[in-house]
Amino acid sequence: MKHEVELRLQAWVDGQLPVHEADEVARLIETDAEARALLTELKHTRAALAGHEDSITLPESREFYWSKIARAIEREQPKAQAVETSWLQHFRRLFIPAGALAALLLIGMLAGRQTASSNVPYELSDLVADSDTFTFTDEANGTTLIWFSYPVENELAQPDDSDIL
């Protein structure tokens, strides 16, 4: 016997089949001996279990009892969502200002560097040379040359007929 037929027989015993399916199962029972044998076994089992089943009496109707469970579930779901939203908002509250502050600091640092370097065309130390500036050190004579790409039209020492010194 197919398992599906067995399940239908079980449902028939429990009275859970629609009318037209119940009629089919009834016909099957009349014509099939194996189905009848299984039906007898199922009825015996049902009768045995029914004698030992605890009877639980609800103080309210079935509908009200389940509606209470449904309301409890609905109450729990918004709480979980609220906790998640709160955490996310908390994270954003901290992260966005921190990120903005970091961006401002970065801009300030870059602007500071640009401002410092724009005060004078060239600013050098022993360690750093501007890309437009040539440096040379003669260690033997202790002489360091810094060659500025200073605009020719602004010459510093160009002698002039009227005022040299």
Partner: protein, 159 residues
């Protein structure tokens, strides 16, 4: 949100980057400091040209200075002294020296051994350099002038 994340990331990267010397940093090379941290310096404005000087008032530079310039990768035939100024700068102090009608020097004694020299041409900053000027050391700052000539400021510590 993404901008914030980028800002945080870049700031962290910058914070984790090793500290490098920036323009204007004071060199840490130790040199002999003068008593009291004062520095007596000599600054000479020099004009370099391949032609003879059209002005007889201009004198050739001291041979010792000329020899130092000859060892540098600059090849002008003649170097004329325009101005020589001596200045004494206390530690942490700054002195301004007029080298010509258009050239000014602003010299700062950083720590008794390092000087910060700012060159000003026609009232505008031309460049700034920080250099240790110990015994026997000198600084030559230069640049192009008109007609394939050049200007130099030769700075050394006077004993």
């Amino acid at each position: 949100m993404r901008l914030g994340a980028l800002g945080v990331l870049l700031t962290l990267l910058l914070a984790l980057m090793p500290v490098t010397a920036a323009p204007g940093d004071v060199p840490s090379t130790p040199t002999a400091a003068s008593p009291g941290g004062k520095m007596k310096l000599s600054a000479e404005l020099i004009w370099g040209t391949n032609d003879e000087s059209p002005d007889s008032k201009l004198k050739p530079i001291d041979p010792k200075v000329a020899k130092k310039l000859e060892n540098l990768p600059i090849k002008w035939k003649h170097y004329y002294s325009v101005t020589v100024k001596e200045l004494t700068v206390g530690e942490g102090k700054t002195t301004k020296v007029q080298m010509s009608s258009e050239c000014e020097l602003v010299v700062k004694n950083v720590d008794g051994t390092n000087v910060e020299v700012q060159l000003i041409g026609k009232g505008k900053p031309a460049g700034k350099v920080t250099k240790g000027l110990g015994k026997g050391k000198c600084l030559v700052a230069g640049g192009d002038a008109t007609n394939s000539t050049a200007w130099f400021v030769f700075i050394k510590q006077v004993e």
